[in-house]
């Protein structure tokens, strides 16, 4: 393979545990009196965006904060249930910054950047301190100290949680801090605005074009730097655990302006979700992973066995995870659980009306522990399942199926969280740097807040102090030009006047994505996807139908613009998956498996981040690489047998 020149991640010199400390000292500072002269745009108000905007406001920068919802508090971070990791070692069970670092690099299947992950582990403890000081009501022991639990197969208890609402409570903390800055006048809030382009002046990101989602007017804003905190792209699959308005548009438009996109094929499919019931479904509901602690996963041994689960005798059931992975059983990592569920369903042994579901059976646990114990552990989840499906899990096994949940890929950033466009930064799920090919449970919240509270306040200051951006305002011709382009793009969509809705197209794309670029990917399937996606895109531009007016609250127009971007992103995901001829983490290539059918990584050829550079419409993007070096966590095989 011909190796392309590698991108410079600007990782500081020195021993890994001193890199961040030294870097903080070596970076330039902005004089306190000068901070208010710098304007910063923060797009998105989830954990990364709200914490960044609040922290920068506290430092004295002039911040403009944008979100698509009616309030910053509604960003999708609220939906995270499980918890947030930190290396506090409050349980005296052997945890440390180094262990959290080690687990995260290994969990990411050796495709994350060591230096970034170490920094993440280092600041994890400050996040917990920060959130507790904000009044986040974490769970506590009788003695009043913080509670921890083990999460996602970790061997130490390092996860902090606030009932099933950890994301909501952490976001309320960050949102409170943000609103405090709004009151103080350092942050100006722009709700119901969707970013549709980044404006580049003299090679640097200097502003954004947004659509006001109420009036429909386009608005432009200038600044010295732009922070993209716009989340992931799981909704490219149409059905996912993400909120229905989650989208990739802001990140994608930046990609088309020169911000490279890294590892788009690294997506996480969560194993325990409520299965799809039909065509009109709008989302898949996640059931907590903790259910696998007591539930046993099985399918009938016989194909197309339509007996009720209770009528299928023990010897005719296949507890496939327990037989295949005796050491971990039902608790194998997310990617393995998901892939095996898909495999048995493809074999025709799936259950439920669609045949795409497996049983998660609590009968043994109820017999062993009693209904009361199970109710105490999972009562709310059982009630939620009962409500959604109409089935009572105390009486009949649950049915579950994997669903797209998180995207490890995202805009490429260097150690300072800056993309390949100067002055454009990406934080949280929108970037690619910390989770490699697979994210561990309770690590997403940690990363979002680490980036916002404790990384960007330093690295942004260094950028501004070094670059000293020249004054710019929205009268600059670059703003006029960008606005014209966005406006034309909207007009073009409105003028198609066809018969197909944006959702219909999105569902067609989603079907291809989940089937061919989902849990297991083959060369053949990926090549088919690369042929089929452009066909759907063609249909979109020929037959899209958007009612109403552009200068109005128009949900169909919002959806259409997002689907247009998904139709391009989906293709890049397929291309990336095709080029990465190895299996690693959430990316499983059927051609790359060992004798036992397990994922086989290829460190010799693929120990790198794949970084895609846009080359123009209808041109194949260029695949650059960032070489990854492992000095501390030596790549080994993940084995769960």
């Amino acid at each position: 393979m011909i190796k392309k020149p590698t991108l410079d991640a600007k990782i500081p010199e020195g021993p890994i545990s001193e890199k961040w400390t030294n870097h903080k000292f070596n970076m330039k500072l902005v004089n306190p009196a000068n901070k208010r002269k710098h304007e910063v745009i923060v797009v998105g108000t989830g954990l990364a965006g709200a914490s960044a905007a609040a922290s920068l406001g506290e430092l004295g920068y002039k911040v403009k904060s944008f979100c698509i919802q009616d309030s910053p508090r509604r960003a999708h971070s609220v939906a995270a249930q499980g918890g947030i990791n930190a290396a506090k070692n409050y349980q005296n069970d052997g945890d440390s910054v180094y262990r959290l670092f080690y687990d995260t690099v290994k969990g990411g299947d050796f495709r994350a950047r060591e230096a970034n992950v170490h920094r993440l582990a280092e600041v994890s403890n400050s996040i917990i301190d920060q959130c507790v000081a904000q009044g986040v009501p974490f769970a506590r022991e009788y003695g009043g100290t913080l509670s921890n639990r083990s999460f996602g197969g970790a061997q130490v208890s390092r996860t902090f949680y606030a009932r099933g609402q950890t994301g909501q409570q952490l976001l309320l903390g960050a949102y409170g801090a943000l609103m405090r800055q709004v009151d103080a006048g350092t942050v100006e809030l722009f709700t119901r605005r969707e970013m549709l382009d980044v404006v580049i002046v003299d090679g640097k990101a200097r502003g954004i074009i947004v659509r006001n989602l109420v009036s429909g007017e386009l608005e432009e804003y200038a600044a010295d730097a732009v922070l993209l905190c716009t989340g992931g792209y799981s909704t490219v699959f149409y059905l996912s655990t993400n909120a229905v308005n989650c989208n990739a548009t802001a990140a994608w438009r930046c990609y088309k302006k020169g911000a490279h996109f890294a590892n788009p094929c690294f997506t996480q499919i969560h194993p325990t979700c409520i299965p799809r019931f039909g065509e009109t479904q709008s989302k898949l509901t996640l059931m907590s992973e903790s259910l696998r602690n007591d539930g046993r996963v099985w399918v009938p041994k016989k194909k197309k066995d339509d007996r009720k689960p209770i009528d299928i005798p023990e010897e005719e059931r296949d507890y496939y995870l327990e037989t295949k992975y005796p050491a971990f059983g039902n608790l194998v990592p997310r990617d393995i659980a998901s892939r095996n569920a898909e495999e048995v369903c493809v074999q025709g042994r799936g259950v439920g009306p669609t045949g795409y579901a497996v049983y998660l059976d609590f009968a043994d646990a109820i017999n062993r522990l009693g209904k009361d114990v199970i109710a105490a552990r999972y009562g709310n989840l059982f009630a939620m399942y009962h409500e959604i499906t109409g089935d009572d899990p105390y009486e009949t096994p649950m049915m579950i199926y994997p669903a797209p949940h998180y995207t490890m890929g995202g805009l490429w950033v260097d150690y300072n969280l800056m993309t390949t466009i100067d002055g454009l930064f990406a934080l949280g799920e929108a970037n690619f740097s910390d989770h490699g090919a697979n994210r561990l449970g309770a690590s997403a919240l940690m990363q979002g807040l680490a980036d916002g509270y404790f990384v960007i306040p330093y690295t942004l200051g260094n950028y501004l102090a070094t670059e000293k951006p020249a004054p710019v305002n929205t009268n600059a011709p670059e703003f006029t030009e960008a606005r014209k382009q966005v406006s034309q793009g909207i007009k073009d969509l409105m003028n198609i006047k066809g018969k197909t809705t944006a959702d219909e197209i999105h569902r067609q794309l989603g079907d291809i994505m989940i089937e061919k670029v989902g849990m297991s990917r083959s060369e053949e399937g990926l090549k088919e996807a690369l042929e089929e996606i452009p066909k759907i895109r063609k249909k979109f531009y020929e037959d899209l139908c958007i009612p109403g007016d552009t200068k109005d609250y128009n949900k169909e127009l919002e959806k259409a613009a997002r689907v247009a971007d998904f139709l391009e992103l989906g293709e890049l995901m397929a291309r990336d998956a095709l080029e990465r001829k190895e299996s690693c983490g959430g990316h499983y290539r059927v051609e790359s498996q060992d004798e036992e059918g397990e994922a086989k990584r290829d460190d010799e050829n693929f120990c790198h981040g794949a970084v895609w550079a846009f080359q123009g419409p209808d041109k194949v993007p260029e695949r650059l690489i960032e070489e990854l070096h492992y000095e501390h966590v030596i790549p080994s095989n993940r084995s769960y047998k």
């Binding site: 000081a133 994301g167 409570q169 409170g176 109420v214």
Partner: protein, 247 residues
Amino acid sequence: MKVNLKIWRQAGPDAPGKLVDYSVENIDPSQSFLEMLDTLNEQLVKSGQEPVAFESDCREGICGNCGLVINGIAHGSKGGCTTCEIRMRQYNDGDTITVEPFRAKAFTLIKDLVVNRSAFDRIMSKGGYVAMNAGSAQDANLQPIHQDAAEAAMDAAACIGCGACVAACPNASASLFVGAKVSQYTWLPQGQVERSTRALKMVKQMDSEGFGDCSNHAECEAVCPKEISIANISRMRREFTKALFTR
């Protein structure tokens, strides 16, 4: 199954509004209420009509974005859930369902079923936080908090800011919303320094936004998807009164 709908349509804040009849057929009982509205909208779009504007995001009861008055009750008659958590199996074939927006003086209407709840943000900006800059926190375990207190704080903190309490209240009061936030911090050692000013400033902002006062109807508690208790309102009143005299 099939349902008949009477949906509030209003092109904008100053346009006249009215209930319009629709019907949706072939409903799967597993569909959520909002998915049923999606189906209606897809029909409308395909027949060249404007879809019904309504809001939703997470569709799992946590973001607080959705909120409809269904047959006269905010978030519907089931209780303890948001609009997006309602499933169609709760209804019978042929039912007629009336769908209206969350109405309140402080929630101006944007379009059809979409209202502006920014007043909540402005109330929060006056004290819905502990004033603490990033980086200045002490170790998280330095200050033990009684488990009961932490749980009580969590009960209050569970508010998702949907505004159902306001829509249900005959006075369109935001007392449950503000009470929950004020109460959360009374249980915790954090933020005690600002305790008085928080109560005074948040209540003052609530009044200035045009929300009414509480007169103990308890409709808010009945519709709250997170089942937040009106005890939080009495707690807020106590805090407010105490603050008036001790400040």
